[in-house]
């Protein structure tokens, strides 16, 4: 799961992840999406940029 907050500054970044993922699969530029989501610090931006979601991969093995 996407971390609730940015590791560095503590801003809640998880709220924007669904929108980020959706617009990213539609092929939009991540820079634009992150700007729209109001993530102006690079600590918060890397949280979404570098996240790898694995919950769907581990869910079948519950």
């Amino acid at each position: 799961m996407i971390p609730i907050r940015c590791f560095t500054c503590g801003k809640v970044i998880s709220r924007g992840y669904e929108e980020y993922k959706r617009r990213r699969t539609e092929g939009e530029d991540p820079e634009q999406i992150l700007d729209d989501l109001g993530m102006d610090r690079y600590c918060c931006r890397r949280m979404l940029l570098t996240h790898k979601e694995i919950i769907d991969e581990i869910n079948p093995y519950q």
């Binding site: 996407i2 809640v12 519950q62």
Partner: protein, 270 residues
């Protein structure tokens, strides 16, 4: 001492503290980050959890959700009359019962007090597949950021000395410093360089302009000088949503006042 607000938004503020000292500015910063009380989830009772996350992970994620804080009617648990057992004076109980398939979000937390609730309803907690279930009871208490960051009301909270930009008469308006400034706050007007209106607060004190001026071959000393005002501080503070920025400043100052009052009392008792 003077406070002057440059902007005061719902979750962010920039203000200037003047006629002060570095020691006071830093005390205020530390008081705001780690001494202002907020609510955060501390105890979680897990009745059922068949999600992919361990109970501990779930509790950790719940703890990090910022919660709208209102002090009226609540006391911190360690000074409460219940002696730390947890009662309605010192804690707020949340219940959550969700069955998959769907995303469990902060909006699924049902609070016993309609005022004390998560700052937004769409913070994802865990994704459930069909057949998976999460049933929990959580208790939020008041505490401060020096105990754990989840009680910290601010995200970024910092300050810099107020920049003072001086330009000497021997400036020939060559514009080298204008190009060098990463913040774009300088401009050449009438053969001499000047700071754009109201942009002096943006200066990051990087001194690249001084360097560029020296490199332009002006002589031993640059024609532009960057100094810091030792008595003025430019604060930038962002709230995580639990308290409005103005309340954080007020509570931080109140904490400093109480601390010095306590010190005075102790000294008088000696």
């Amino acid at each position: 001492m003077k406070l002057e607000f440059k902007d005061l938004l719902i979750d962010q503020t920039r203000f200037i503290l003047s006629d002060s000292s570095p020691a006071f500015a830093n005390s205020l910063r530390r008081a705001m980050t780690s001494e202002v009380l907020t609510f955060a989830i501390e105890d979680v009772r897990v009745y059922d959890n068949s999600s992919a996350l361990f109970d501990e992970m779930l509790a950790h994620r719940l703890g990090l959700i910022p919660i709208v804080t209102e002090y009226a009617g609540y006391t911190p648990r360690d000074v409460c009359s219940c002696d730390g057992a947890g009662c309605s004076q010192c804690s707020v109980t949340f219940t959550m019962s969700v069955e998959g398939p769907r995303m469990v979000a902060s909006g699924d937390l049902i609070s016993q007090d309609p005022v004390i609730k998560p700052v937004s309803d769409d913070i994802p907690i865990v994704k459930l597949e069909s057949g998976q279930k999460v049933v929990i009871e959580a208790r939020a208490i008041l505490n401060a950021g020096n105990e754990h960051v989840k009680w910290q009301p601010t995200t970024i909270c910092g300050y810099k000395n107020y920049p003072v930009i001086r330009i000497d008469d021997n400036c020939d308006g060559c514009g080298h410093c204008v190009e060098a400034c990463p913040k774009g706050i300088l401009a050449v007007v009438d053969g001499t360089v000047c700071v754009k209106d109201g942009m002096d607060t943006e200066c990051s004190l990087c001194r690249l302009c001084e360097q560029a001026c020296l490199n332009s071959g002006i002589g031993e000393k640059p024609a532009i000088h960057i100094d810091m005002d030792p008595k003025r501080f430019l604060f930038t503070m962002e709230s995580c949503g639990s308290l409005p920025p103005a309340t954080i400043i007020k509570e931080g100052l109140q904490f400093l006042k109480n601390q010095s009052d306590n010190l005075l009392e102790t000294l008088e008792d000696l």
